[in-house]
């Protein structure tokens, strides 16, 4: 099959087509690209924005469409906020403890209670309440839409097929891209934040619900039919309860996703913890950002404990021990405790969190940052210090790649990428890549740094590639080790879980402390953020190799190293490829966040567009990010699909941080949940 001749034949067609394509591009579009190849998206968006600003007050679309929705969302958030204020901080702590104790058990309740207290102690009670209120509204809407749609898509394959493309698109698009149109339609403030969060978290909610329901084995569904259950009874009595752990996990994941975006929504003027982090980053006040970052983690912990549920055994014991009288007493005690706490809170300092309780880390952190700046930037033996690492990366990695990409003419890059895609991933992927990149060339807004969108795209691409390579270089050995050693896996799993729960924002804080601002800190933050899926999928791929296969290899005398290289790695390759794919998507999803700390290029364009009201630029940069995502995603998906292996049988497209590739993985998660 791979004789030289057939290889020639196989390469001949792509070579000819791409050569023709190159001639076409260079000849017709020319270099620099012809001015008629211009989608004028930026100017169009700008004029739409102008129109909207002019007509927001009187056009029916806003009077009867978006404004009532915006007002309704705003009121919901405000109402939640008032409620949170009304019950005061002792009331809230008690409420959280009581609910978490009922849902997840005493230990979880104590953790959650302490976390709420810590939020107050960090001095960010007010912004945290805004974040919580935004979360409550967004998550409620996501679940209200996502659960029924998930059930529908589990039961109607046709519906599932039809929505798949839309959900894929919603998931692959970095969250910032939603923010822009949301701002246009809903103005700034809470409403666009809620809408963007809903759009971002909804696909995951639908998919995880549908996936969970579909995971219920047919033979259990058959039991229902065999007993004469109606479809409704089968759903309520078998499918939903059996899928319950998976559904709860889905809700839990949805909340995590939502939190990530609610924080980012600071960019469109929604106050809250995100605003605090942003302000800290912008003023290089790492201490302020650190406090807010810790508070975000605390909020994540609280929400997690409120929804985690009990582990199987504990849940059964709880249900067995629970008599109706006992349930009634518990309810009364819980409500009583909350009411008393509220009264106490009202009497004590009118409910505001007392300033005397203060364990803000603002000053120590800033001192530490200053110390790092003075001592670690340079002159550390051997590694030379963070400053030199940073310089080294820029000079020897980033700049060469960026220069290489930007010095090519645009059509050389397109033809090169298309050829690569064709050879490694097939015709259709090549076509998709060519189209995606051609779209980028049709964007003509001037980037915030003066370069064109195309140049910024190449710049971002170089950063993404470096971040992905570094991520994989770190993730592979760790993942392999975790795949082989049960002990090591058990040791790092909680860490991986914790890393996946944290919003990307939080990673920026320590990175800036060590590396100041620039492209390198952006890359490091992306790497840290993107590591977990790479490690996890590598480890899972290796762990899923059937023990019989390994036994067979061992019994034919293979050494451990041979087993690893000849059996485990080849079989895990597909899972590793999926890890690569997820890593890329994660890195892309934080391009904008990297832009905040000097990553430059497209990220900065988006931020600039959002904050400086240059929506045209923001949208064009957003489209370019999506185009990059399409190219890299399609190519790596195809690589993964082309590999034979044990993992990845189900293509469950999940957004960053929801890495599930099959039932076993779901179960793997369930154990830890």
């Amino acid at each position: 099959m791979t004789s030289p001749r057939s290889l020639l034949v196989r390469l001949a067609v792509p070579t000819a087509v791409i050569a023709a394509f190159a001639v076409l591009l260079a000849g017709v579009w020319g270099n620099p690209i012809a001015t008629w190849w211009n989608f004028r998206i930026g100017p169009w968006i700008d004029s739409v924005e102008e129109w909207i600003i002019l007509h927001r007050g009187n056009h029916w679309l806003f009077r009867w469409g978006f404004e009532p929705i915006a007002r309704w969302l705003h009121n919901l958030v405000q109402w939640d906020l008032n409620a949170l204020h009304f019950i005061t901080w002792p009331g809230l702590i008690t409420l959280v403890v009581v609910v978490a104790a009922r849902v997840s058990g005493i230990r979880a309740a104590l953790t959650a209670g302490v976390a709420v207290f810590v939020i107050g102690g960090l001095g960010v009670w007010e912004p945290a309440m805004v974040t919580v209120a935004l979360m409550l509204v967004s998550v409620a809407i996501v679940l209200a839409l996502g659960l029924p749609l998930g059930i529908l898509s589990a039961r109607r394959p046709a519906f599932e097929r039809r929505t798949r493309v839309v959900l894929d698109a919603m998931q692959v698009m970095p969250a910032f891209c939603y923010l822009l149109p949301c701002v246009l339609l809903f103005d700034i403030g809470y409403p666009p934040a809620v809408v963007a969060t809903v759009i971002f978290a909804l696909p995951a909610a639908i998919r995880l619900t549908s996936h969970g329901l579909r995971g219920v084995p047919d033979r259990l569904m058959e039991v229902g039919t065999a007993h004469g259950a109606t479809p409704r009874q089968s759903l309520l009595k078998i499918q939903l309860p059996v899928a319950r752990p998976a559904l709860l996990l889905g809700i839990n994941q949805t909340i995590n996703l939502a939190l990530g975006i609610v924080v980012i929504a600071a960019l469109v003027g929604a106050e809250g913890l995100g605003q605090e982090v942003l302000a800290g980053l912008q003023h290089l006040d790492v201490g302020q950002a650190f406090d807010a970052g810790l508070a975000i983690v605390a909020v994540a912990i609280v929400l997690d404990r409120l929804t985690a549920g009990r582990p199987l055994r504990a849940a059964r014991k709880f249900r067995r021990d629970r008599t109706p009288e006992r349930a009634r007493i518990e309810l009364l005690a819980g409500v009583g405790a909350v009411v008393i706490a509220i009264i106490v809170g009202k009497l004590w300092s009118s409910g505001a969190f007392p300033t005397s309780i203060d364990f803000s880390l603002h000053d120590p952190v800033n001192r530490l940052v200053a110390w790092c700046r003075d001592n670690l930037r340079n002159g550390v033996p051997i590694i030379g210090g963070t400053g030199s690492i940073s310089d080294f990366t820029v000079i020897h990695l980033l700049d060469p790649i960026r220069d290489f990409l930007t010095q090519r003419t645009w059509w050389e890059v397109i033809c090169g990428v298309t050829a690569l895609a064709w050879i490694t991933a097939g015709r259709r992927v090549a076509a998709a890549c060519a189209i995606a990149l051609l779209v980028v060339t049709g964007l003509h807004a001037d980037g915030s740094a003066g370069g064109s969108i195309w140049v910024d795209t190449m710049d971002t691409l170089s950063q993404v590639l470096v971040a992905v390579v570094i991520s994989m270089v770190i993730a592979l050995p760790i993942g392999i080790w975790a795949g082989i050693s049960e002990r090591f896996y058990a040791a790092i799993r909680p860490l991986l879980d914790a890393m996946q729960v944290m919003p990307a924002f939080v990673y920026l804080v320590p990175v800036i402390g060590l590396f100041s601002v620039g492209r390198v800190p952006g890359i490091i933050a992306s790497v840290v953020y993107a590591l977990p899926p790479g490690i996890r999928l590598t480890a899972l791929g290796i762990r899923e190799v059937p023990p019989e296969t390994i036994e067979a290899a061992r019994s034919s005398g293979a050494t451990k190293f041979q087993i690893l290289t000849k059996v485990q790695l080849p079989l895990a390759l597909r899972s590793i490829m999926l890890g690569l794919n997820q890593t890329i998507l994660m890195v892309l999803s934080v391009v904008v966040i990297a832009g905040l700390v000097g990553g430059g290029a497209l990220g900065v364009d988006v931020v600039y567009g959002l904050t400086k009201s240059e929506l045209g630029l923001g949208v064009e940069a957003g489209i370019a990010i999506v185009a990059l995502a399409v190219v890299l995603d399609r190519m790596t998906q195809a690589w993964a699909a082309g590999v034979r292996g044990v993992a990845g049988s189900t293509r469950l497209r999940t957004p960053p941080r929801v890495i599930r590739v099959g039932k076993t993985k779901l179960l793997d998660q369930l154990e830890t949940a």
Partner: protein, 360 residues
Amino acid sequence: MTTSGTDTTTDGTPPITTAGAETPTISCRGVWKVFGPHPERVVGSSDAELPRAELEARTGCVAAVRDVSFDVDAGRVFVVMGLSGSGKSTLVRCLSRLIEPTAGDVLIDGEDTAHCSAQWLRDLRRDRVSMVFQHFGLLPHRRVLDNVAFGLEVQGKSKAERHARAGDMLDLVGLSGLGDSYPDELSGGMQQRVGLARALANDPEILLFDEPFSALDPLIRRDMQDEVARLQRELKKTVVFITHDLQEALKLGDEIAIMRDGRFVQVGTPEGVVAHPVDDYVRDFVRDVPREHVLTAGGIMRAPVDNEETAGTVTETTLVSDLLPIVVASDHPIAVLDGDGRVCGSVDRLIVLRALAEDD
């Protein structure tokens, strides 16, 4: 029971219901189930005769059940045997229309199940037909008691009523006091007892067993077989029992059908099947059976010879294993008496030896 005591091969011709007999509880007429695109085209066409692989290559279809007909009278146990993939599960699911047959009729108590409303089918499954599954089919989120009560819950019975009934059923299958456990806390054998209790809870007239004991180890399997035999003696249900274990079939079945590639190749009494296998497939199945535990004097005797000197008598139903010491101890043939005590045949050493040596 409609088929005669010995063997009936079925190549499309069903054993015909004897005129005047009451309607059989279950009656299958020319049932087909073909999986794949355009299944109806395969039924009855010349393609249907093709071997499995060829049929699949040519039409993309798998004929899981081909033209199967049989009757089961009230209170009888009909066993279907066959190798893996021969279509047993598909057949038994066609009976309660968990799988919709491609062609043919299934009659329950003389009522045709085709063209029935969804509600009628649901009522059938709620009240009259229960199934025990190979993989137990217990719902992991429910306590044992609630698993047993599932069918009653689906029927809309009150909690008190269904728990009382489920408790009784647990007593019946010997699991008293385990109602509060969860399925995964029980052993395999206990889990299948729960499955059995659940099937019995709505007091169905028909019980369908799809290889209920295949997943159990041999000792527990024997226990469970005894349990089913006991329940059957007490409760007198009409049973269709799927198995690939001949011992099990012989132990429980009033009548056995042997299935291959979707067809019944032989239907008959346990003894008939063991004594007169119709082809090599069936012979392979029965090869390892200890024949002396299945064959009876009545099955192997020769016609009585007048004025023969006999050394003793046995009845028609005496097993050969019991007959052996008698013929060994005697130089003369032994007379065989029928139910009314009349001599209907005789056996001697040679006949017994020949029967045991098999292959007729």
